[in-house]
């Protein structure tokens, strides 16, 4: 991507992470990394958001919350799993209350592994997510279906 044509707003939800990734997501917004200069704003309202950043694994309690936030977001939308817990369950995979990564409940477009994921990696993930968002928008304008999971398989193949 040579330039960003959209100011993407993101919503952040902490699944069951240890806070490490969450404070790194916040660190992205503060002067050292400052993603706000690209127009990326952390919003609290799912209806305003284009990008869903989720940290931490999925458990029985937050499954419904994650689904609800995802369903409230307008199309086109991108889901980014930040940290190894959101990717696969990570170090907590064997815990009795952990179901697995984010993709056990909602389709994920970009995975950012790391424990904790570094701000540079998170920004990189968001930039990759912008590419996915642009493609989805294109598909929407042409009237094609935008099934996230299937689209991703096609992209990789």
């Amino acid at each position: 991507m040579s330039y960003v044509t959209k100011s993407p707003w993101l919503i952040h939800y902490d699944g069951s992470s240890c806070n490490g990734c969450d404070i790194e997501v916040l660190a992205c917004l503060t002067p050292m990394y400052d993603v706000e200069r690209f127009g990326i704003i952390n919003t609290g309202n799912p209806k305003h958001a284009d990008i869903f950043l989720i940290t931490g694994a999925i458990n029985e309690q937050n499954k419904a919350v994650v689904k609800q936030i995802y369903e409230q977001m307008p199309e086109p939308k991108v889901v980014i799993a930040v940290g190894i817990c959101a990717t696969s369950g990570g170090i907590f995979k064997e815990c009795y209350n952990i179901m697995g990564g984010t993709d056990t409940v909602i389709p994920v477009d970009v995975y950012v592994p790391g424990c904790a994921a570094r701000p540079e990696a998170i920004i990189d993930g968001v930039v990759k997510g912008l590419g996915v968002l642009a493609k989805k928008k294109e598909a929407m304008e042409k009237g094609l279906p935008i099934d996230t999971a299937k689209g991703k398989e096609k992209e990789e193949a």
């Binding site: 902490d14 992470s17 806070n19 799912p46 458990n59 064997e94 815990c95 009795y96 904790a116």
Partner: protein, 360 residues
């Protein structure tokens, strides 16, 4: 008298990055009752002691919380060392104390930023986090990680800090004093900030004791309660005295934490001056004997309690952690009763909640 309404707060809300759910019963604009419900981050990691060896378990315990991760690692190592009867070298104790105090600085700066964000002072939030990055740079240089270090192990620490780096740390934290002073002036002297903090969320000394508040929350109400007085690490040699305020409101809690940041700087500089040469760890071998040990350690948020029980094998039989936020929730609910709806986010923040600690 107005009609009673229930406003649900959370689990997804813009105040904290973490999910917590509160049912706020309000009458007009006043909160009558707050009913917390937790459990969104429960992972059940204490149960993992049955699957991970005691040396491996350090990494899991460190990931209870990403903000006070070093403290959790230290508390776990202390309790296992207590069970096994291991004496660790003096230099390791000094290094652990230095890292722990650095963690406290970064945690309190993070909190000050979130508080500023809570009362709508965005630029102050940015400045707090800008200064905090300097502490994170020290962590990255000495341990390799920004938030999770994995530097504590049973029997000592994993990495040494050389003389030149120690000097550098000393000068960096000393240099931060000037910037922190400017920040502290805004938090403690600014008219509009004071308006939001003074007299809000009062907790009396009796209530604090009754509800078993810990950490800065208890100290702001005048209780002399600080586990650093027990002398873990080298606090006894550094001549440590807790910071105590008596007002019991949000302003006092803010002041306690600001004073503690300055105190941490002094403790770090003093520890760096006094640090002896020597080994940084002792080899630990064999099984954990069938014995038990309790450790109380002062985290940035207050007293954390660790209990370890061995079973004459590589695996512990039981590990239990009780964290400070868990203790402070009753006090938080008490301060929420009778407050304005607009003050709710800030009052939740003043206990410095760490939900992933609470639920583990």
């Amino acid at each position: 008298m107005g009609k009673r309404t229930i406003i649900p707060f959370g689990p997804q809300h813009p105040v904290l990055p973490e999910p917590v759910h509160l049912d706020l019963v309000i009458e007009d604009e006043t909160v009558v009752e707050a009913i917390p419900s937790i459990g969104f981050i429960h992972r059940g990691l204490e149960k993992l002691v049955e699957k991970k060896e005691y040396t491996e378990m350090v990494y899991v315990i460190e990931r209870i919380c990403g903000i006070c991760s070093f403290g959790h690692g230290w508390g776990y190592c202390l309790s296992v060392e207590g069970v096994m009867g291991v004496e660790i070298p003096e230099r390791a104790n000094y290094l652990r104390t230095i890292w722990h105090e650095l963690s406290r600085m970064h945690s309190h700066l993070l909190w000050l930023g979130l508080l500023a964000d809570g009362f709508g002072f965005e630029s102050l939030f940015m400045h707090c986090w800008r200064i905090r990055e300097k502490v994170l740079d020290i962590f990255e240089k000495t341990t390799g990680g920004r938030v999770i270090f994995s530097v504590c192990k049973v029997g000592g620490v994993r990495k040494d800090i050389d003389e030149a780096t120690l000097k550098e740390i000393s000068s960096v934290v000393d240099g931060m004093k000037k910037e922190l002073k400017e920040l502290a002036d805004v938090f403690l002297e600014d008219y509009s900030v004071k308006n939001r903090l003074c007299g809000v969320g009062y907790l009396s000394k009796e209530d604090a004791a009754e509800l078993a508040a810990v950490g800065p929350m208890a100290r702001a109400s005048g209780l002399k309660q600080d586990m650093r007085l027990l002398g873990h690490g080298v606090y006894d040699k550094l001549g440590f005295e807790p910071c105590i305020e008596t007002a019991g409101d949000s302003y006092a809690r803010c002041k306690v934490r600001i004073r503690e940041v300055f105190q941490s700087i002094d403790l770090i500089i003093k520890a760096i001056e006094m640090i002896p040469d020597g080994d940084i760890s002792v080899p630990v071998k064999g099984n954990v004997p069938a014995n038990e040990c309790v450790v109380r350690l002062e985290q940035p948020r207050g007293e954390a309690f660790y209990y370890a029980k061995g079973a004459d094998s590589k695996f512990l039989e039981r590990m239990r952690v009780r964290t400070p936020t868990n203790q402070n929730i009753p006090a938080m609910v008490k301060t929420l009763q009778g407050c304005d709806l607009a003050d709710v986010p800030m009052l939740i923040l003043t206990i410095d909640p760490c939900i992933s600690c609470t639920e583990r």
